[in-house]
């Protein structure tokens, strides 16, 4: 009798393990940091891309607007692909695009902008990559939407595409 209960418990345990492993198989093993709830904007000081002066983060996000912060670099191949989408976004007057140039060579970055156009109303330099960390980014490109209350409400990892563009536009309405 005692043995039977024991056996029963063991079988239940293994069935439980089976279910967990089975479900675990369908989960991706690649980790993507999620944005679970709204986050405050980090406070930082950055250098401006063209003026090379220092700017305070509070002065960057001053207007009562939606902001989109895009992290990019000239060496990043997907950034090239997403650039036309950013150009399209920049035509929307109700938002402002801020670029964060991530661990880049300044000359290469300028060439990149000259070649493909400048969608950003302001570009900040993040030579060391530490500002990107403040935003919780871990690669390029990444895009953040910041609402009028100066909260980060959405983040996109990887290049934007037409589908995500629609999603962003929905968000802004």
């Amino acid at each position: 009798m005692k043995n039977k209960i024991f056996l029963f418990i063991i079988i239940l345990f293994f069935i439980f393990c089976f279910i967990i492993f089975y479900k675990g198989l369908n989960n991706s093993n690649i980790y993507i940091p999620k944005l679970n709830n709204k986050k405050d904007l980090p406070i930082f000081i950055a250098r401006d891309f063209y003026l090379e002066t220092e700017v305070n983060s509070e002065k960057i996000f001053l207007d009562n607007n939606f902001y989109i912060l895009n992290i990019w670099a000239s060496w990043c191949v997907p950034c090239r692909k997403e650039h036309p989408i950013l150009m399209e976004l920049s035509r929307n007057k109700s938002i402002k695009l801020i670029g964060l140039n991530y661990r880049d060579n300044l000359n290469n970055a300028k060439k990149f902008i000259d070649e493909l156009g400048n969608p950003y109303s302001q570009i900040l330099i993040d030579e060391e990559g530490t500002l990107a960390v403040e935003f919780g980014a871990y690669g390029v490109p990444e895009t953040f939407i910041i609402d009028k209350n100066k909260k980060i409400i959405k983040k996109f990892i990887g290049p934007l595409n037409q589908k995500l563009l629609k999603e962003i536009k929905l968000f802004l309405k």
């Binding site: 980790y31 940091p33 999620k34 991530y102 661990r103 060391e128 990559g129 530490t130 990107a132 960390v133 403040e134 935003f135 919780g136 871990y138 690669g139």
Partner: protein, 123 residues
């Protein structure tokens, strides 16, 4: 002469203590970096990686140490930005009670079984 000696000693002492605190913060930095997972590499710590992400994290940890943040505060900062995943040393919390305590419970349980199977008699 005595004054010079005294100055020398003070000078050395100051130097010494300075270099010592440098060494300490360097050690602390390495310790922290070894406990942070590099998110874009597979199964590698930030300390062992030279990827862009790892280099940025190295700089930011150094900055935070210089700002006077403690080890815990730095972990807290990174956890807030990237989630629990980034830390190799999971803290004891409701998510990890089983992780930390189950092996210890099993150890006690095993000890009990071993004890029950032994004949302990004193002569």
């Amino acid at each position: 002469m005595k004054i010079i000696k005294l100055f020398l000693i003070i000078f050395i002492l100051i130097n010494f203590s300075q270099s010592k605190s440098d060494v300490k913060s360097e050690e602390l930095k390495n310790k922290i970096l070894k406990n942070i997972r590099c998110l874009i590499c597979q199964g590698q710590s930030v300390y062992d990686s030279e990827s862009d992400f790892a280099l940025s994290i190295k700089l930011i940890v150094e900055k935070k140490i210089n700002d006077g943040l403690s080890e815990k505060q730095i972990y807290e900062f990174l956890r807030e930005k990237y989630g629990e995943w980034i830390l190799y040393d999971p803290e004891l919390s409701k998510n990890t009670y089983i992780l930390w305590l189950l092996p210890l419970l099993l150890f006690l349980f095993g000890g009990a079984i071993v004890y029950m199977n032994l004949i302990i008699k004193k002569k």
